[in-house]
């Protein structure tokens, strides 16, 4: 009976989630062009090629910058918005849904809308900058600015998630502790810094991990806003470009996927390790 109910799902998970992990490791030892019938076993050559080329510094650097800035940005802005949402004014329910909305929208659609806003010729941003007597920077052609642009849009899309999770955290803070602090004469800012922030540490840790995992897997915005990945090629995008871009280097792409998976695994294990030791204040 158990198998009759659960087997279809379990088989699907085994075939399409677990099998690829093993296949990737095997593919990563091959010199293999996608679509070609033959492949040569080359051992760890793909990894050696990756780490000894300029790609490694560039891709790992881009991945690090993209991940750190998007995670930090979404979390800090998310916390600030959560504080505003936590105030007792009317309309917070609506504002809460509004800031969450971009999180559920298609990255492709959102990416195009922002690409238009950033357009150096006819975008809203260029128009505002002209009003200030400035030239619009070349967001699309300059690799560094491309990365800035994608990061900004990614934060726009994801900060609502952080805000809503932080809001839930704020609302579950023990009221008696907060009131005791205000009785002791702690003002709002003081209460926030020495009470709320430490008490929110489990929420912060949860967000840090989930946001890192999703930033490391960010694909849609990068693909639609910077198809060539100039300046924006993170590990996941590099793996995509190598296999499905111009080169069809399947083995090489698989080795990058394995590296990405190893990083994701470390982040996940960190989560499992620390969740156990979650600090309880009350």
């Amino acid at each position: 009976m158990f198998l009759a109910l659960a087997l279809p799902n379990l088989v699907l998970i085994a075939v399409f989630t677990y099998r690829p992990l093993i296949s990737n490791i095997y593919y990563s030892t091959l010199d293999w062009t996608l679509g070609s019938a033959s492949a040569t076993v080359v051992g760890l050559d793909n990894y050696v090629t990756f780490f000894s080329s300029n790609d490694a510094t560039k891709v790992l650097g881009t991945t690090a910058v993209f991940t750190l800035v998007t995670v930090g940005g979404s979390m800090i802005l998310g916390l600030l918005i959560a504080l505003a949402l936590n105030s007792k004014v009317r309309g917070t329910t609506f504002a809460r849904s509004a800031v969450f909305a971009p999180y559920v929208l298609s990255g492709v659609g959102v990416g195009l809308v922002w690409l238009f806003i950033f357009d150096p010729g006819y975008g809203v941003l260029a128009w505002i900058l002209r009003g200030l007597g400035q030239q619009s920077p070349q967001w699309i052609n300059d690799p560094q600015l491309s990365l800035v642009m994608v990061i900004l849009v990614y934060i726009w899309k994801n900060l609502g998630y952080c805000a809503v999770v932080y809001l839930a955290g704020l609302q579950s803070l023990p009221q008696d502790v907060m009131e005791a602090a205000s009785l002791d004469g702690a003002n709002g800012f003081r209460r926030f810094v020495s009470m709320s922030i430490p008490l929110l540490s489990p929420t912060t840790f949860f967000l840090l991990i989930t946001s890192m995992l999703s930033s490391l897997q960010a694909f849609d915005l990068i693909r639609i806003m910077t198809p060539l990945g100039t300046g924006t090629s993170t590990l996941i995008y590099e793996a995509y470009l190598q296999a499905f871009g111009a080169f069809n280097r399947a083995g090489y792409s698989a080795s990058i996927s394995v590296i990405l998976f190893a990083i994701l695994l470390v982040v996940t294990l960190l989560q499992l390790r620390f969740v156990e030791r979650k600090v309880h204040y009350s």
């Binding site: 726009w156 839930a168 002791d184 897997q217």
Partner: protein, 306 residues
């Protein structure tokens, strides 16, 4: 108690509160309080809401503009007239109606099967006796953490080898296994009181009847949450359909939009691209507006349980 706390020697007096803690409530309309509410409460909320809505509003307005109203150094905010020409062009340049149908089929079939599988697996995990159930559950939990992006290449090779390239089943199949829905429903089923099932068992109802006549009807909100989150992610899914389709006949909306972007690469194409973006974004925005409670709850699940 700190020395700052007022001393209240009379035990019959109202509960001890710091007088300042209630000042705003005693004078709710004081100028200071009003200013505080506006600066501390409203301004950040209004700014945050605007930052979200203005780009989306701009998308809709631009989708109704003629090229001349977009290609101008002076920003024109409102279109001169409501003009659906961009939508017509988007539909004829690429088969947008077909993309829409494909996306709908992929979303409806994919989400239905996933929700069904999640219900069945979660029921089995919670209510059916079986050895190694915990080990199986851990394997499902771990699958939840395996990013679909790293599975793209092996799944492409498998599905393409099975002849699934440029087919709707090829788009749907690899995503059907569901760890997320199973996990969420399992957590909910565990909270159901055992007594309601025991009485049904005494009445001779088998697992199948217990599932559909007792467990499912009392779990509608949780199932709705799983269903809605699944619908949203199926509709927005990009990397897999992008790789497994290269012919317009089987493309989904996000992939079709990429195709449109390639053919409308000059500035006059912005209005057309915005029309395309509207067709991708607005259906989900409508569903979200109507049922946001479930969607937000489903997507932020885990934050409370850690």
């Amino acid at each position: 108690m700190s020395s700052l706390s007022p001393v209240n020697p009379d035990p019959s007096a109202p509960p001890l509160v710091h007088p300042e803690a209630f000042v705003p409530r005693e004078r709710p309309f004081s100028a200071r309080n009003l200013l505080q509410t506006i600066v501390g409460g409203y301004i950040p909320l209004v700014v945050a809401t605007m930052v979200v809505f203005l780009p989306l509003l701009w998308m809709i307005l631009s989708s109704l503009k003629l090229p001349g109203e977009i290609i101008t150094t002076d920003l024109q905010i409102l279109p001169d007239s409501v003009n659906v020409e961009n939508y017509n062009i988007a539909m004829t340049t690429v088969p947008f109606a077909q993309f829409f149908i494909n996306s709908t089929i992929v979303t409806v079939v994919g989400a239905t099967v996933k929700v069904l599988l999640a219900i069945l697996t979660a029921y089995a995990l919670v209510f059916v006796r079986f050895p190694f159930k915990n080990a199986i559950f851990i394997l499902i939990l771990v699958a939840l953490m395996v990013p679909p992006q790293v599975s793209i290449l092996p799944n492409y090779i498998l599905i393409a080898g099975m002849g699934g390239k440029n087919t709707l089943w090829g788009i749907i199949l690899p995503g059907l296994g569901t760890a997320f829905g199973t996990f969420l429903l399992r957590q909910h089923f565990l909270t159901l009181p055992a007594s309601i099932l025991e009485s049904a068992e005494i009445d001779g109802a088998g697992h199948w009847r217990r599932l559909w006549q007792i467990v499912v009807p009392v779990s509608v909100p949780s199932i709705a949450t799983v269903a809605l989150v699944t619908v949203v992610s199926e509709w927005n899914e990009y990397i897999w359909p992008l790789i497994i389709t290269d012919r317009p006949e089987t493309m989904t909306l996000p992939v079709g939009l990429t195709l449109l972007q390639n053919s409308e690469s000059n500035a006059s194409g912005w209005g057309i691209l915005m029309a395309g973006a509207v067709l991708v974004i607005v259906p989900i925005l409508v569903i979200f507006a109507a049922l946001q409670r479930y969607i937000v709850a489903g997507l932020t699940q885990g934050s409370v349980t850690g």
